[in-house]
């Protein structure tokens, strides 16, 4: 019975973080250095990995993408529908799931470090390294650009994502202070 309740709690958490990523799309994008706006949504993806751990973080993003594909306009700027998965940035959408997975896994491995640092390193690996591998591969496939050129085009987004990496660490630390049990990647 208790195990049953835990399983249900997991499902509720997955749905909640998926909704949280959608809600973060409401925070107005901050125009950054290169003039390319950064949205808070990918911050939500990294946070899902840190807070829920690799598997549930992954599932939260998969659930969100599934509902977006069904037609709900839940991505920043009211984007949604199947178009998200055929456009030039489709790789980033799919990469989000693996970004959350990697963020959660790496954060989990770094128990000895302060959570802000561990989550920051996790978010860097997941939200930048893993995410851009998917993003650049998707861009190459859809636009027929070479690896070097695709990478050059995508580079403009990296400064904004680096800011989010730092924020992920700070937010995770702040929530951990208030609700230590809410951070699944920390062994209490």
């Amino acid at each position: 019975m208790k195990e049953h309740a835990l399983k249900e709690q997991g499902l509720v958490q997955i749905a909640l973080y998926a909704a949280l990523i959608a809600a973060l799309g409401l925070i107005p994008p901050v125009p950054f250095l290169s003039g390319i706006p950064i949205t808070a949504q990918s911050l939500g993806v990294m946070l899902a990995g840190v807070m829920l751990g690799p598997l549930r973080g992954f599932l939260a993003v998969v659930l969100l993408l599934f509902v977006v594909a069904l037609g709900a306009p839940l991505l920043a700027g009211g984007r949604g529908g199947l178009a998200v998965f055929v456009g030039p940035t489709a790789g980033f959408a799919i990469g989000w799931a693996f970004a959350a997975l990697a963020t959660g896994w790496v954060t989990q491995q770094l128990q000895r470090l302060n959570l802000a640092v561990a989550a920051g390193i996790g978010a860097f690996v997941g939200g930048i390294l893993v995410l851009y591998v998917f993003g650049i591969l998707g861009f190459m496939l859809i636009t027929d650009n070479g690896l070097l050129r695709s990478t050059q085009i995508m580079m403009v987004y990296i400064p904004g994502d680096l800011v989010k990496v730092v924020i992920t660490g700070l937010v995770a630390q702040a929530v951990y202070k208030g609700l230590p049990g809410a951070v699944a990647t920390r062994v209490v």
């Binding site: 049953h4 309740a5 249900e8 709690q9 499902l11 509720v12 958490q13 997955i14 749905a15 909640l16 973080y17 998926a18 909704a19 949280l20 959608a22 809600a23 973060l24 409401l26 925070i27 107005p28 901050v30 808070a40 911050l43 946070l47 807070m51 659930l63 969100l64 599934f66 509902v67 594909a69 069904l70 037609g71 709900a72 839940l74 700027g77 984007r79 949604g80 529908g81 199947l82 178009a83 998200v84 998965f85 055929v86 456009g87 030039p88 940035t89 859809i142 636009t143 027929d144 650009n145 050129r149 085009i153 924020i167 937010v171 702040a174 929530v175 208030g178 609700l179 809410a182």
Partner: protein
């Protein structure tokens, strides 16, 4: 978009399969002139939606600046033909995908993909749990959006500032509490309904 056009009446599964088939068929095309009729046909598809149908073409607007950037880049490095092929192919795919989304309700789409999710049972994910998670997400979104909007409003009332990311902390803490309450309420009612029909 609700409506009774021929595309609305086409079963969701057929539309999804067609979209997939077209995306594969278009991939090897490398002559810009061959893609032009496909693009025109796609636009004609919007016209069949009835009054206001063609206005829906503007849904593609958010992708346009990005597409133009790629066009310039592609033309500069591989010639204008390659640039036009790429531009038309992406436009066709995005427009067609939007057309499917516009003419298919979320329920119909869900019903069409549910059979494909059945194999997930083998890894321990029952389809009715997926349906329940989708319903929960759809219910949570307006709650969390209202919460975000009120936090933003309070932030501006206090003078605002650039460090809006700080709102993520109260948002997260409130959301976690909400999740715990819902999980408790769910457990108290005997868990997720085991009924897969809806």
């Amino acid at each position: 978009m609700a409506g009774r056009s021929p595309l609305h009446r086409l079963p969701a599964g057929v539309k999804l399969a067609a979209l997939m088939a077209i995306s594969i068929a278009l991939y090897p095309v490398d002559q810009p002139l061959w893609l032009l009729p496909v693009l025109l046909l796609t636009i004609a598809g919007y016209a069949t939606l009835g009054p206001g149908g063609l206005q829906r073409l503007t849904l593609v607007k958010p992708v346009l600046p990005f597409l133009l950037l790629i066009l310039v880049f592609q033309t500069w490095t591989q010639g204008w033909a390659a640039g036009l092929v790429m531009l038309q192919r992406i436009l066709v795919m995005v427009l067609l995908a939007n057309l499917v989304t516009l003419t298919t309700s979320m329920d119909a789409m869900m019903a069409a993909v549910m059979p494909l999710l059945r194999p997930l049972r083998w890894v321990g994910v029952a389809p009715h749990r997926i349906a329940f998670a989708v319903a929960l997400l759809v219910r949570f979104v307006p709650v969390l959006m209202a919460l975000t909007a009120s936090l933003l409003e309070a932030w501006r009332a206090r003078g605002g500032g650039r460090r809006q990311w700080r709102l993520a902390v109260p948002l997260l803490i409130n959301a976690i509490r909400l999740s715990d309450h819902v999980a408790e309420a769910l457990a108290a009612r005997g868990g997720i309904p085991n009924d897969s029909t809806h």
